[in-house]
């Protein structure tokens, strides 16, 4: 069976959920071989094996943290060469984070392959893997293939339900020699993002978002309280972010995060096309807005026309009492 290279997104050995989704999708087209780089790479092996990795190629070096993107491209290329030399390689899959897409793009040029970004589904086809993409703010669905080289495909978070499928997950050290270009862009300082204790926005099953209607940073506690009652992540519209009420890392939309949760609750958000681009594929959509004409209501499964400062706290109380 052909192998599928899966690039592992992890933080100090803790594998992020989109990678487990990738392993699930990879098994549809071949045998997953995972590539884990940087500090803690070896600690990823157990969970990767549990989810179907037949092999885990690992490598750690200071370069991964000290320089931008290129060292990881060099390593993924080394993995590509090692695996394709030994047999047939069906595809290279990379999580669709900003960095993941950049790594995938540069690898694609180096190995003479086409690239598909932001796939939301993947299946085996007669002429290689077929990727589903959402286009034009999710108003279209396309199916595409890579027609030259080994398909390089990046996949969005929440594109598949994670399934366990125990495999060997044998750890092998990957030999990497960095290119001259690897040290081109130096990371001179790094400030880790503060943990909020809430689920990661792109991975959360429920997202509760607030917009301009929230009318002030201090009022975002109304949104946060609802989120906490549901165990949800908090999102924000760009208007709320631009006003400085909530961090940019929580922005949902074209230039923020794109989310695809089971449930999305928008409060005080009008539903501009750029916001919709980031949340339109949510399974169930709920909105609270005092303007009955707001475009967000075109998308909803359930909408409440009303003042969010009345509706949201009542909802939160009701959820708490039901959960008892």
């Amino acid at each position: 069976m052909a192998e599928v290279l899966v690039y592992v997104d992890h933080v100090d050995g803790a594998v992020r959920k989109p990678t487990l989704e990738l392993l699930t999708l990879a098994r549809r087209i071949g045998e997953p071989v995972a590539v884990a780089l940087g500090s803690g790479a070896e600690n990823t092996a157990a969970v990767l094996a549990e989810h179907g990795a037949v092999k885990v190629l690992t490598h750690d070096a200071a370069e991964y943290a000290d320089y931008l993107v290129v060292p990881k491209v060099d390593a993924l290329q080394a993995a590509y060469e090692a695996v394709s030399a030994g047999g047939s390689l069906a595809a290279v899959l990379v999580p669709s984070s900003a960095e993941g897409k950049e790594i995938a793009a540069r690898l694609a040029i180096r190995i003479g392959s086409g690239i598909i970004t932001d796939a939301v589904d993947l299946e085996a086809g007669d002429e290689g893997p077929v990727a589903t993409q959402s286009a034009f703010a999710a108003s279209f669905t396309t199916k595409s293939r890579v027609s030259k080289g080994t398909p390089v495909i990046t996949v969005k978070p929440n594109s598949a339900a994670v399934q366990a499928a125990p495999a060997a997950g044998a750890v092998e050290a990957l030999a990497v020699s960095f290119s001259e270009k690897a040290t081109g862009t130096k990371v001179t300082a790094r400030t880790p993002r503060e943990a909020t204790g809430r689920p990661e926005l792109t991975e959360a099953a429920i997202v509760v978002s607030g917009g301009r209607g929230v009318n002030g940073a201090e009022n975002f506690s109304v949104i946060e309280n609802l989120a906490d009652s549901l165990g949800a992540a908090v999102g924000a519209s760009r208007a709320a972010v631009d006003a400085g009420w909530y961090p940019h890392s929580n922005q949902v939309g074209q230039t923020g995060k794109s989310v695809s949760p089971q449930l999305y609750i928008a409060s005080g958000i009008s539903g501009a096309i750029q916001h919709r681009a980031g949340m339109q594929t949510s399974k169930t959509i709920v909105a609270i807005n005092k303007d009955a004409e707001a475009p967000i209501f075109d998308l909803v499964d359930y909408g409440v026309v009303g003042d969010l400062f009345e509706v949201v706290p009542q909802l939160t109380d009701e959820i708490k009492s039901r959960k008892g």
């Binding site: 690239i115 279209f140 669905t141 396309t142 169930t284 209501f297 909803v300 909408g303 409440v304 509706v311």
Partner: protein
């Protein structure tokens, strides 16, 4: 020596219009107005600010696109860029990201550059990969997704910036020449002034075709693409949901709905 900045700008269908695909599954450009990708306005803005800080700088805006893409160049020129290059060729229709990056890289090399500035992503394809592809092709550092950027020391100097990632915020630094991309957090783009609009009409716009760039027709276009779109289908409209007016019980009604859907 003058700091040579090339800003890559894309001409895209208006996101607020009715965007769709043509029969050959490329973007239908006939039925919807085009414009300069809003995210590339931020790239033009940062180029203007970097030029202001430098002793001497020249900003060239570059687009690869059909005839109408000149509109995108005019807009960038009216914001204050100095000159423009339009790569236009019938054989470019349907080019994918790898092909686009080839054309852009050849044009950037031909134009001469110390710094390339791109947007974080186009507003139609939204892949966000062209800047990385350009850095790979040009063999220069990529300093991408910056929400803050500055250049010191002229054409042989350094570029510094801040990249706000998923798990951390990073300070980056590289020597020129380099490829930079900027986010919409980098600073509001200026509106063209009347004077700027008038001045833009007199600024030079060069047109290059594939031959000028020594690119063969089969390296680009639909045929030359390394990806193939098999189908494009409009997503079925969402079925009309329930909408209630809050008359004091809106939150409770919503809770009832969520409970029915097993979210509570």
């Amino acid at each position: 020596m003058s700091l040579r900045i090339v800003v890559t700008v894309k001409y895209v269908p208006d996101a607020t219009g009715d965007r769709h695909f043509a029969e050959d599954l490329t973007v239908d450009r006939d039925d919807v107005d085009g414009l300069l990708s809003e995210l590339d306005e931020y790239a033009v803005e940062q180029a203007l600010q970097i030029a202001d800080e430098a002793d001497d700088a020249e900003i060239t805006v570059l687009t690869v696109g059909p005839e109408d893409a000149k509109d995108a160049l005019r807009k960038a020129l009216s914001m204050g860029a100095h000159k423009a290059i339009h790569v236009e060729d019938d054989d470019l229709h349907g080019t994918d990201a790898i092909g686009t990056s080839l054309v852009l890289a050849k044009a950037i090399e031909k134009a001469g550059y110390d710094l390339v500035i791109s947007g974080m992503a186009s507003t139609d394809g939204t892949a966000g990969i062209v800047p990385a592809l350009l850095a790979e092709r040009l063999g220069v550092p990529q300093v991408t997704l910056l929400s803050e950027v500055s250049v010191e020391g002229g054409p042989t100097g350094t570029v510094k910036g801040r990249r706000d990632g998923d798990t951390a915020s990073e300070q980056l630094e590289a020597s020129l020449p380099a490829v930079v991309s900027v986010t919409d957090q980098s600073g509001e783009a200026r509106y063209p002034s009347f004077k700027g609009i008038m001045a833009a009409k007199k600024k030079p716009v060069e047109s290059w075709d594939l031959e000028d760039l020594e690119i063969e027709a089969d390296e680009v276009g639909l045929e030359g693409s390394w990806t193939k779109v098999d189908t494009a289908a409009e997503r079925p409209a969402r079925t009309a949901g329930t909408i209630v007016k809050d008359e004091g019980e809106g939150g409770k009604q919503l809770a009832e709905f969520l409970a029915g859907q097993k979210f509570i």
